[in-house]
């Protein structure tokens, strides 16, 4: 192909673009479905990618929330365990002036027959 032929093709294409005949000239009507399908695929790819990002962001936030709850749970557990110690309970009862004290005798139980 000579430079002249290339120049002619560019000129014709520009003219066809100006006249709105470019796609007809290249017979794009035969590829119409393929083009639509290509656009659909591109749109799906972009949208799914964004959705994955969004889901992962949400998963990360949820994971952080779960971690925080675990920490909160550990701290609460430690505080409750501390309150539950027998000597701690006795000390608090004494401070309150309560007459309740640790048992001096073992528990009497009723067994279900």
């Amino acid at each position: 192909m000579t430079a002249h032929a290339v120049w002619t093709a560019i000129k014709n294409s520009a003219r066809a673009l100006r006249n709105g005949e470019f796609l007809l000239r290249v017979r794009a009507d035969k590829l119409y479905m393929h083009i639509l399908y290509l656009f659909l695929l591109m749109w799906l790819t972009i949208m799914l990618s964004l959705q994955v990002d969004k889901t992962l962001t949400r998963a990360g936030a949820n994971k952080a929330a779960i971690e925080e709850l675990k920490i909160h749970h550990a701290e609460r557990e430690a505080a409750l365990v501390k309150l539950r110690s027998a000597s701690g309970i006795e000390e608090r009862l004494e401070k309150m002036g309560s007459k309740v004290a640790s048992p001096q005798e073992p528990a009497t139980i009723i067994k279900k027959r």
């Binding site: 994955v52 992962l56 962001t57 990360g60 920490i71 550990a74 557990e77 110690s85 073992p106």
Partner: protein, 638 residues
């Protein structure tokens, strides 16, 4: 002619092509040389611009996921140690300072300072460690000096952090409010000092207790993932990269019973707090049938009695020393097992408390002779009153010619070695057996009543537990299982250290131990709510060269002061032993004496009474005394 012209044209065309190709090859050659030179330059002397690095930096970043350290649990699942992050709060005092200065906006600066003042009031109310003015002055000084990392408060928990994040200024976040938060994993011990030396810790190179010995189970394994930034500047996992999830550490379930530990800790504290002369005290409670340790208390003061009682060192494992009269049971068990003493009522001559061979006179025998008018004494009574003479006599008469036999027994009771234990650091006993440097003509006799042989309290408790378990000596242990999310992945079952004597011998010695409580040196335990069998022991502690200060007596300093220890070790209920208990108190260097039958026995009494009230073993069942008649329809209408 025409053909000639065509040939001429072809030649000229070829020459042109050759010339063009020549120049092209020259250009390619030059470019290649330049590229080569550039490569050499980059490899040798080129320094990369930071802007260029940023352009080439990968979008993904590696994020390390730290594992959560496993918990240490009591036998019923209550946590002795758990992990949770704590937070350090800092402040960038210079935040927005330049912005206000560039705009020359004095009002904005004033507004910022007003918010800082409100922040300081809130901080003061939250932490109660400084006044609001002190906080404010610190922050404003930091702002003037350009402090970007002013420490506000360290080691706050999550709830406190969340509250602090709502305070004025800090609620605007890091970029506008200047708050900087750093987290670090911390170990939380909900029961404070309870069993603290058993639980231990791991801090850099300092490693103690179960935390250290089971670190390989507790620490877990770190993971990592690659993260990339999204269009809205969130960091998400990069799905195109590898992910290694963090594996949290396993939990360790111990044999310790929180309630028993609490009871023992409290009883011992009470005894020590009432006596300024006591430096330290220990309690071991062991399950007779399994060797599971249900409580191990190690309380000690600092250099002076005014210091706080705390679990400073694991004396149960490390305090290797002469245990005194509690070791007479070793001699008694040996002579009964060997058949030398067939009955505890067997008598031996009193000899005014003298055993030939250079032994000291036992003045208690003189008292006995005076009170009873007798010139003989039963083995049982000698044990009850803890006579050194009786046990020296037994050792010299039955093992004088073959001392190795007694020492063979001592080794079979595992009193001559440091056996394997769940916490490292168990002291190695020192036994002055025949042939060693410490052996002399009186060593056999002194060993018979507890001197000349140095063991740890855990050795003593394990030995008595063997008697309580009818001759089967169980290996003491502290960890019963390793768990993952509540599921047992490794179980540690009880194991036998040795069969130390026959059942009959154990029963005979148990009878002697009961007599000590009934009529002997431990009558303070007679009224305990469960029958107790055991032995008291009082021993003088060998002083260090510094404590001795030139004195030649290993047990006394030049001013006659000494360090001693009082022990009670036994088991309960005596008829069907469930627990073995040992209590020892150690004195400061002083002129005071503490006996095993006093403070330790009192502590044992309190512990036994409380365990009796608490342990389901002794729960009483309410039986039906009658029956309520069944009411039929219509019967109650009359």
């Amino acid at each position: 002619m025409k053909e000639k012209n065509e040939i001429q044209d072809t030649i000229e065309n070829r020459d042109r092509i050759h010339v063009v190709m020549f120049f092209v090859s020259i250009v390619v050659l030059v470019l290649s040389a330049l590229i080569l030179a550039r490569i050499v330059h980059i490899q040798t002397s080129y320094t990369v611009d930071a802007k260029v690095i940023n352009l080439f930096r990968p979008v993904s970043q590696r994020h390390t996921e730290a594992p959560v350290r496993g918990r240490i649990l009591s036998t019923d699942g209550r946590p002795f140690a758990i992990s949770a992050p704590l937070y350090d709060i800092y402040m960038d005092c210079t935040i927005r300072k330049r912005e206000f200065e560039e705009k020359n906006d004095a009002d904005a600066e004033m507004a910022w300072r007003e918010k800082a003042r409100q922040l300081c009031v809130a901080l003061s109310n939250e932490f109660h460690d400084k006044s609001a003015d002190q906080y404010y002055n610190t922050i404003i000084q930091g702002r003037e000096k350009g402090s970007k990392y002013l420490s506000i408060k360290k080691n706050v928990d999550l709830n406190t952090l969340r509250r602090v994040q709502t305070f004025p200024l800090f609620q605007e976040g890091g970029y506008r409010g200047g708050i900087i938060v750093e987290s670090h994993e911390e170990r939380i011990y909900p029961y404070d000092s309870l069993a603290r030396r058993v639980i231990g810790y791991v801090k850099d190179t300092l490693r103690k207790g179960l935390e250290a010995n089971f670190d390989y189970e507790l620490h877990g394994k770190a993971g990592y993932e690659w993260r990339r930034v999204t269009d809205d500047n969130s960091w998400i996992r990069d799905l195109d990269s590898n992910v290694v999830r963090a594996q949290d550490g396993n939990d360790i379930r111990t044999t310790l019973n929180v309630d028993f530990q609490d009871i023992a800790d409290r009883a011992l504290r009470k005894q020590i707090n009432e006596n300024d002369g006591i430096r330290a005290g220990i309690v071991i409670i062991m399950e007779a049938q399994t060797g599971a340790i249900r409580a191990m208390v190690n309380l000690s003061r600092g250099a002076t009695p005014q210091t706080t009682l705390w679990e400073r060192e694991n004396l149960c494992l490390t305090e290797v020393g002469e245990q005194g009269s509690v070791m007479k049971t070793v001699t008694l068990l040996s002579v009964v097992e060997d058949g030398h003493v067939k009955s505890l009522e067997q008598t031996l001559p009193t000899n005014n408390g003298f055993v030939p061979g250079g032994y000291k006179q036992d003045v208690h025998i003189l008292d006995y002779q005076r009170e009873t008018g007798r010139r003989d004494i039963t083995v049982m009574h000698g044990f009850e009153i803890s006579s050194n003479y009786v046990f020296t006599w037994l050792a010299e008469n039955y093992y004088g010619n073959r001392p190795q036999e007694l020492f063979d027994h001592i080794y079979s009771y595992r009193l001559g070695e440091a056996f394997d234990f769940d916490i490292s650091g168990l002291g190695t006993p020192v036994v002055n057996r025949p042939g060693t440097a410490g052996w002399s003509k009186t060593t056999l006799g002194t060993t018979a009543y507890g001197y000349g042989i140095s063991v740890t309290p855990l050795h003593v408790a394990t030995f008595y537990n063997g008697i309580a378990n009818k001759g089967r000596m169980m290996k003491p242990y502290l960890v019963e299982s390793v768990e993952k999310n509540g599921r047992v992945i490794k179980r540690y079952d009880p194991s036998v250290l040795n069969n130390i004597c026959s059942r009959n011998t154990a029963d005979t010695v148990t009878r002697a131990l009961r007599a000590v409580v009934e009529r002997g040196t431990a009558t303070r335990l007679k009224q305990a709510k469960l029958s107790v069998a055991g032995k008291t022991g009082t021993a003088q502690v060998v002083l260090t060269p510094q404590e001795r200060a030139g004195s030649t007596d290993p047990y006394h300093d030049p001013w006659g002061r000494k360090k001693n220890q009082g022990t009670f070790v036994g088991f309960f209920p005596a008829e069907n032993p469930k627990y073995t208990i040992l209590v020892t108190v150690y004195s400061y260097l002083s002129g005071l004496s503490f006996y095993g039958g006093t403070l330790p026995a009192l502590a044992v009494r309190e512990i036994v009474d409380k365990i009796y009230a608490l342990d389901p073993e002794w729960e009483q069942e309410l039986h039906r005394a009658g029956s309520v008649p069944v009411m039929k329809k219509g019967e109650n209408e009359q």
